[in-house]
Amino acid sequence: MDYYVQTLVDGIAQGSIYALMAIGFAMIMGILGLVTFTHGEVIMVGAFAGFYALTFLKTGIFIALVAGFAAAWILGLVIELICYRRWPKGPDETWLITTIGVSTVLKSGAQIVLGTEQQLVPDVYTGFWTFGGVRILHIQVFMLAVLFLLSAALWLFLKKTKTGLELKAVSMDKTAAALLGVDVRRILVVGNAIGCALCGVSGVLLGVYYNSVHAVMGGSAGLKSFASAVLGGLTSIPGAAIGGVLLGIFENVGVAIFSSGWRDVIAFLILIAVLLVRPSGLLGRKGAEKV
């Protein structure tokens, strides 16, 4: 029994990182309707920013999170400029190529600038609680807290601020929003930056939780965030969060039931199954399949 509870706990912890990535992703892809494949590399850059803050500047974890946030935000501005500015209306395929291009540059550039070796990220919050045979690490709770706080902040931002409301308007209908006097370009810039920044934070957590950063860490991270966001419904922030946590749980429980080699297969099968049953994802807006 303990075994399954422990698996669940680890799954939720892993899922909370996925969730944060997925929220950033849902922001860009679901709400703004921009296709992106630079995602993994944004996570990597965020992770390295956090790593440098922690290791060389000896700042605390909070400053590291801010550093990841800021670095990814700036990167988000650059990405918008290179990948989207010229083609605000798409098509999807163009964005796909430009973002793949940027992602290639970032990944191989990072290997040149930041080195090819895996780097050690020092531990923060090494303590744990024990409940019977189940061990919950402080860092796991911390990650969940960060997830909750950032989701709540984002939710408030979307609900209460003018920019947030404009964001929602753009997500419904870009043309109509423009007619209502919304500066669509500004919203795209801001929204993309926010999405990237959240990914940056998730990158810092990724580095801290697994004690490592690596120039090529973005590949699988990007794929996972993609899957989580779709699972939860691309258009919904809480959906993405839940999708991320669910993916974490699926993967861990999947290993408990099947061999671990098949765990990504299971994750992708569930993803496809969800898309077939509910194309709009678990919590997505209905009619999203008419994209």
Partner: protein, 375 residues
């Protein structure tokens, strides 16, 4: 369509101009390694080591009275690129032999091309049992898992660590798979109980679920068949989950990086090696100092093997007294008791090395050699 044609011609001309003949006053050795992509870290080590070796040879007067020149090509660790590089090398008649690639899959994809062109492919790291067998011109010097597996079971797990049962976590690529396979087979032979075996994906960072699963059977020891990068993270996660299992691993974990990344978590991990940083041999110490100067880090096993690869090739060329590809192959195959920094090296009939392993442990943040076996 016509445009395509024009550009084809233009590009071919450009490519050809890059591949024209070179002055014959050098002996050129090709190095195919992942300089970019996911294995860039390992490819970089290759590049540093092989270049260092070449410089050393040149400082000592070169080969056949000529300078050695290394031609580095980036394979990204991709089998297709490795095959293309193979074509480029065999095409260039000034290149005498090739060192590389890093992964066994890349080596195997390139093997038929080298074999057909009768050019040596000497891989510092391919431990796939099929690799050296795949042709007369294929040589591997890291030693195959056929030998390492039994050593790990008999001497490390049973004799040194006194384990009764053991679980295996392995990386899901050809190397990890073979390592696991040979380890489990040897365990059967020597009556070591294997309580579980689980693979993980190369890009995976979260091993908690797999470790929890393996923990269920409560083994005494855990064999971590992974590179040092993953092994250090696995060790950390094991300690975080409060599991007091003894760790052992194949020689791939031997690197200063393991201790740097793993910290206290890798304390006590046992592995085998044929190359030790504390080896008193001046050649080894010289290599280590030199490597640190160039790369800014301590060399690992791959780096040492790459260095030896170049040195062995040079030795073979000297004995052959020719830069002819087939002559090099024949001389290389006859290599006997070559004293490299990774020990005395003799090729088997198929072109592998039979290694002599030592038990090595991490103690107080240092790699410490324990016993010397001749198997």
């Amino acid at each position: 369509m016509k445009k395509t044609g024009f550009m084809l011609l233009a590009a071919l001309a450009l490519l050809a101009s890059g591949a024209v003949a070179f002055a014959a006053d050098t002996v050129r050795i090709g190095l195919s390694a992942p300089i970019t992509g996911n294995y860039a870290e390992y490819g970089e080590n290759f590049k540093y080591s092989v270049t260092m070796a070449a410089e050393k040879i040149n400082a000592a007067g070169g080969l056949l009275g000529k300078k050695v020149e290394i031609v580095v090509m980036d394979s990204k660790g991709d089998p297709k690129e490795a095959a293309l590089i193979a074509q480029k090398f065999v095409q260039d008649s000034s290149i005498a032999a090739e060192i590389g690639d890093f992964t066994s899959t890349a080596c195997l994809a390139a093997a038929p091309i080298y074999e057909r062109a009768k050019m040596v492919q000497l891989s510092p790291t391919a431990s796939h049992p099929d690799f050296a067998k795949s042709g007369e011109y294929m040589f591997g010097i890291v030693g195959t898992q056929d030998a390492e597996g039994p050593f790990n079971v008999k001497y490390i797990a049973q004799e040194y660590m006194a384990l009764k049962n053991v679980a295996v976590i392995y990386i899901n690529n050809d190397w990890g798979h073979v390592t696991k396979d040979r380890f489990v087979k040897a365990a059967e032979k020597f009556n070591l109980k294997v309580t579980g075996e689980q693979p993980f994906m190369e890009s995976e960072k979260d091993y908690a679920a797999i470790l929890n699963k393996l923990r269920q059977a409560n083994p005494d020891g855990l064999c971590v068949a992974a590179m040092y990068n993953e092994a250090s993270l696995i060790a950390r996660q094991i300690r975080k989950m409060g599991w007091n299992v003894k760790l052992l691993a194949p020689s791939s974990v031997f690197s200063a990086k393991l201790i740097e990344l793993g910290g206290e978590a890798v304390e006590g991990i046992v592995t085998n090696t044929f190359f030790a940083l504390e080896d008193k041999d001046p050649a080894v110490q010289g290599f280590i100092a030199e490597f640190e100067k160039v790369a800014g880090r301590k060399p690992n096993l791959h780096a040492a093997c790459a260095y030896d690869s170049m040195m062995m090739l040079a030795d073979a060329i000297k004995r052959a007294n020719s830069a002819d590809r087939t002559a090099i192959r024949n001389a290389l195959a006859e290599t006997k008791d070559f004293s490299g920094i990774t020990g005395k090296l003799t090729f088997t009939k198929v072109g592998d090395i039979e290694r002599k392993y030592k038990v090595m442990v991490v103690e107080k943040g240092q790699w410490v050699v324990k016993k010397d076996y001749t198997r």
